[in-house]
């Protein structure tokens, strides 16, 4: 059974929501990534999203774009990202790892070769932001053959019909992009998110994560009250940029944000259920 499914089953039984941090692999330096992944797990992360650097991250805002540029200065390739996951896996066999990025580095490596190598390295899911379901029909079976969960995005503009079609291809979880825009943009509208999540849940039983616009403990708690997972990216990546020249401080900065979110998510939940 997939690590991602196990993770959500376990959280559901404990009535908790997943905290999913995103960092770009190799940002600001390749040696930062694996220790930071372990530290994030300790701080309460349940699933780690590892960004594969790409030269043209069209769906991301300036924060993640800058992270890609920092990583690419060190020529961090998809193969090196897989090496990082393998290294992480050697000390953590439980925490699911999802690769997030763009199609072209995977296409350049070759879909089958990538899927085999990713599975061997211990990757659990793959989210290619520029691969909507229309373009995914040939790729999804290749991922599935190597037990990689294909993770897909849903947007405020996704119709019922699209939600159904996307969920029929997806496994692991569904990633709801909470606002029109790029990563790191303005804060989210929790009422609109709540309404859309109801619509999504009427169509699928897959866990639903919400990302885009979650910047602090308060928004994380609000989202945790309605979603199965809270994805936080730019708020962390911004710190990696801020402390790019003092990488020894990064771990502490990131851990403090995540620990705050974790606590707020759990307290909010206990308040609701008590």
């Amino acid at each position: 059974m997939s690590r991602i499914k196990n993770c959500f089953d376990d959280l559901r039984s404990r009535k908790r929501q997943a905290l999913i941090p995103y960092i770009t692999a190799g940002d600001p330096r390749p040696d930062v990534t694996v220790p930071l992944m372990h530290a994030m797990v300790k701080a309460g992360a349940n699933i780690i999203e590892v960004g594969v650097p790409f030269s043209d991250p069209m769906a991301d805002g300036p924060v993640v774009q800058a992270a890609c540029e920092r990583a690419l200065k060190h020529h961090v390739s998809l193969r090196q990202v897989l090496d990082m996951v393998r290294e992480f896996r050697s000390r953590d066999d439980n925490t699911p790892v999802v690769l997030m990025g763009y199609l072209n580095p995977i296409e350049a490596m070759g879909y089958t070769e990538f899927a085999r190598a990713a599975h061997a390295a211990g990757v659990d899911g793959v989210l290619t932001v520029d691969m909507p379901p229309e373009e995914a029909r040939d790729v999804v079976p290749i991922f599935r053959a190597e037990q990689l969960d294909p993770i897909f995005l849903l947007a405020p503009t996704s119709s019922d019909e699209r939600i159904a079609s996307i969920c029929s291809l997806a496994s692991g979880f569904i990633y709801y992009v909470s606002l029109k825009g790029v990563t790191g943009a303005a804060s989210l509208d929790i009422a609109a998110v709540t309404t859309k999540l109801k619509q999504i849940r009427a169509i699928t039983d897959l866990p639903v994560g919400v990302g885009f616009g979650i910047r602090d403990a308060a928004t994380a708690a609000q989202v945790a009250a309605v979603a199965d997972a809270v994805v936080v990216g730019s708020a962390l990546v911004r710190k990696l940029g801020e402390f790019a020249e003092q990488p020894h401080k990064i771990e502490q900065e990131v851990v403090s944000i995540l620990a705050g979110m974790r606590a707020a998510m759990d307290v909010a939940h206990d308040r609701v259920t008590s």
Partner: protein, 411 residues
Amino acid sequence: MINTVSTIDMMASMAEDLPDANGHFGPYGGRFVAETLMGPLEELRLAYEHFRNDAAFMAEFDKDLAQFVGRPSPLYHAERWSQKLGGAQIYLKREDLNHTGAHKINNTIGQGLLARHMGKRRVIAETGAGQHGVATATVAARMGMECVVYMGAEDIKRQAINVFRMKLLGATVVPVESGSKTLKDALNEAMRDWVTNVDSTFYIIGTVAGPHPYPAMVRDFQAIIGREARAQILEQAGRLPDALVACVGGGSNAIGLFYPFLKDTSVAMYGVEAAGDGIESGRHAATLCAGRPGVLHGNRTYLIEDADGQIIETHSISAGLDYPGVGPEHAWLKDMKRATYVPITDSEALDAFHALTRTEGIIPALESSHALAYATKLAPTLAKDKIIIVNLSGRGDKDIHTVAAREGITV
């Protein structure tokens, strides 16, 4: 009975019917964007499908092309230059005589009208050399729309005059500081703006690339070039040409010329790419000649990338050809061998720039000079009764500073 339909006829008729419903030209094209953009792209596709079949809309488009752009553009027999080259007769399709000085305006008129009919009050565009930015700002000024143009910070330095033209026309020019600070980064930034402001905003893409329906839509708006050229050569020479030659960056002027001739299997087609300092130097923008298939900017096509799939910075003396991708229909025409793609270096293009200027009294754009340079190679290999049509896609005024600087002259 033997089936006499040749493969090339079948292929040509298939090619004309492309793309398919999801925007594919064979394995190329498509819609490789985040889910957030799928809704807006579908809205655009439906609007375009509706209006391209709407007689009133098309009449409005034709009227603007005639009265605002100045179409039809002449097809000019460059007799002196043909004679000098000693081979085929060269005809120039004079897109340089359009309002704003290039073919770009054909497309911005079309998309501008579509934007207005869709109720969008704000248009955005990406631009490299500034030609598409100027053509977009022009249409926005005329239609009273807000206009924002994204342009790489490096390109802004290189193209100060076009930046000022856009500002005169009322556009806001936003410098893009990310990545290589050139056209591809401007495109990323425009996409980001669009996804954020999609309710109010129409994104006018300047070439036959990007997600479906852009490659097909821009082609259809530019196909006026080939339709006119086909009728004009039949009238002037009484027959179809033997070859078409056009430069290819993204490829909109080339597809505009080629498309109405796709079924004319006797007509050879040559797309001319920018080889910069030479393909072997690594400093070039010859995507179809030296790249490989991948996914960028919403479509699958040939790309200039490294072994890891990262996009590499390109080089050309001509900013309008300096792009690491190419329209997906060209990728398909290359694979199907319906069109041939050839490289021309910076210095070959410059030689052709001077030759046309001195022989015919026409100063061509550096982009178009690549097509002219290939014609100077092709013409002498053909008999004098053969006909080549070269798309003179733009005028060269904007490039005078580049040419002077290259030759050590202060203007």
